[in-house]
Amino acid sequence: MGPRILSLVALALGVATTSQALDWPAAAPVAVEFGGPNAGSPIQGIVMSGSGVDIRASEAGELVFERATNDFHTKLPSATGETLVLEGGHGLASVYAYLPSVADPGAENFVSDALIGKSGPAGLLDADGFMFALYDRKAGRWVNPRVFLPKSDDAKAPLIRKVSLESKGKIWVLGDSKSIPQGSYSIIVDTAEQGTGTQGLVIGPPWYLRVLVNGEKVVEARTEIAEAKNGVLSFYPSPREGASIVIDGNGSVRVPPRSFSRGKSVIELLVRDFAGNERSAAWTLLFE
């Protein structure tokens, strides 16, 4: 059983895996993590930034779908620009999107490491780059590519940028607000990865998130998969414990509303990136 199949099996069982099965499609930094923001909607893959960077097949695959930006066969716009979908076997499709152009249009079979194109300005991405995504055909859901990619050499802990409580559109930022009216609140968590070298922050939900309220585990989640159910795309944890989380169009994690009664409450947060670096924080709040 190869590492790739092991990864699939592990994923199906809901077990985090570090098995390397695919190669990074480019020697470029990750700019947006799985579930991170992309012009108002969470992205189903990772965005790698850079201009003129070679984009290569992460594994050998057969072309399933190729969409040119200005294809005249359909009036449906291609929001993901030039897009290639390769079937690698085992029911896993790899998607290369927001490509300015394709190196070999019409090619049907790609060996591993074959040149797919070069990154550049395309689609709605805020910076030059491209998206790499994996779709699990059997389960009908997107998979965080990091599950199948080699672990990056990252020693920087993720940043907890802001944690807030939200009720009826009103926001209380933890750290700024010591006293809050009692009631039902969603917990909104904004995190980011610290980029490599001169790269800025990498926006997106953390790989692992745990929230405790007064010592009770409210949610423990991993952003491993994304699935559209009943017309809504949700990035949710493999069901482990607590409530499901929702990732909004800004890449923020929203923990469903829970009730806070009068008195003191302690909210503890632990986030971890895929490399295992973690950061925690705690806030003591007074609900009146």
Binding site: N38, S41, R67, T74, K75, L76, A79, V85, L124
Partner: protein, 361 residues
């Protein structure tokens, strides 16, 4: 002498019979169908609506040829033209332009009056009188009414690869080979996975004007065309055919305006499926077809080929070729209305629009 007289009489009788046959049994020549030019207009970079005719806004036709787009009145010609920036979607009900990284998405009517600014981010597109936005992730589609109110918004399971709509139904095909039907309220009225191929994917879809039939080109190895028909409760597959095609890109397919035929791209030409007889024919084409148009009341389908040299091809639904004529054009477009066809041609910096009428004479 007698012999000579006999010959004369024979010649005279034969001549008389011939003359009598000519007058008595004459059949008038059938009227011939010819294409007559009615008007032609140059399409400038910019032609403000105010300079156009006073034709009612809801009677205008849209066009997009190369970089230029706009509207024309079938009787009088061009009423509005503009040059697109990064992208534009045009339908007879209006237009919406966008940039590669768009800011405001303004849906306008054919006069250029802003109907609303979309609250949704993404790429806008119009289909008939319907206005949609597909999100940056190619997975979420939103529909708005003419005032900008959100009618529905939905995430599909994977990339949206195929789209079709009529006045009441939107049909969506996805990268993982599923087909969805959504009504105007956003309710799912069809969810179907055609399957049957080694790899599932939907490459094209179509819905008939009355919503009775839905069609799709699906799968790889083998690829097939399926037609679903609405029964009392749900849509059911009523016809399918494995094809020799191996399309791995979007595929054109559409029902004719009367809904009687499905016209779809297939190997070597256009497939025509008759919804009444459930029979299929293939009209052979030399190059990929950009667009096709049915001529009302005639057994005639016009297709615009885009090959090394674009051509207009006319054929019967049975596959009988009527004519083919090449165009001197870099880009072209074809629209039909009744017995009229409107042809747009772009060559270099020059763009023109002309009306040709099928006339019997």
């Amino acid at each position: 002498m007698e012999e000579k007289t006999k010959v004369r009489i024979t010649v005279a009788v034969t001549s008389l019979i011939g003359i009598a046959y000519f007058f008595l049994c004459a059949v008038p020549l059938p009227r011939q169908l010819v294409l007559k030019p009615r008007w032609d207009n140059a399409v400038p970079d910019s032609y403000p609506y105010a300079a156009g005719s006073s034709a009612p806004v809801n009677s205008l036709h849209s066009f997009q040829i190369g970089e230029r787009y706009g509207f024309f009145d079938g009787n009088s010609g061009l009423v509005f033209a503009a040059t697109r920036g990064y992208g534009v979607s045009v339908s007879d009900s209006g237009y919406v332009a966008w940039e590669m990284k768009p800011g405001l998405l303004q849906f306008k009517d054919p006069r250029g009056v802003v109907l609303f600014t979309s609250p949704a981010s993404g790429y806008p597109f119009m289909d008939g009188a319907r206005r949609f936005v597909i999100a940056a992730n190619q997975e979420r589609i939103s529909e708005f009414d003419a005032s900008g109110a959100l009618l529905w918004e939905r995430d599909f399971p994977s990339f949206v690869t195929a789209f079709a709509s009529n006045a009441a139904i939107t049909v969506i095909g996805t990268m993982d080979g599923r087909l969805f039907g959504i009504d105007r309220s956003g309710k799912e009225i069809l969810s179907f996975a055609p399957g049957g191929s080694r790899i599932d994917c939907v490459y094209g879809c179509a819905v008939s004007p009355d919503g009775r039939n839905i069609a799709a080109t699906t799968g790889l190895d083998k690829q097939r065309v399926i037609v679903l028909e609405k029964r009392e409760e749900a849509y059911r597959v009523t016809w399918h055919r494995w094809t020799d095609s191996d399309f791995r890109r979007p595929v054109s397919m559409a029902f004719t305006p009367d809904g009687k035929e499905l016209v779809f791209e297939t190997t070597g030409g256009l497939g025509v499926y008759d919804t009444a007889t459930r029979r299929e024919r293939v009209i052979s084409m030399q190059d990929p077809v950009v667009s096709s148009a049915a001529i009302t009341g005639r057994d005639m389908l016009l297709a615009l080929e885009r090959g090394g040299r674009p051509s207009i091809v006319a054929a019967s639904y049975g596959g009988l070729g009527y004519f083919r004529f090449p165009l001197v054009a870099d880009d072209s477009t074809l629209v039909s209305e009744g017995n009229a066809i409107f042809l747009g041609i772009a060559k270099g910096d020059s763009t023109s629009l002309l009306r040709l009428d099928f006339v019997e004479e």
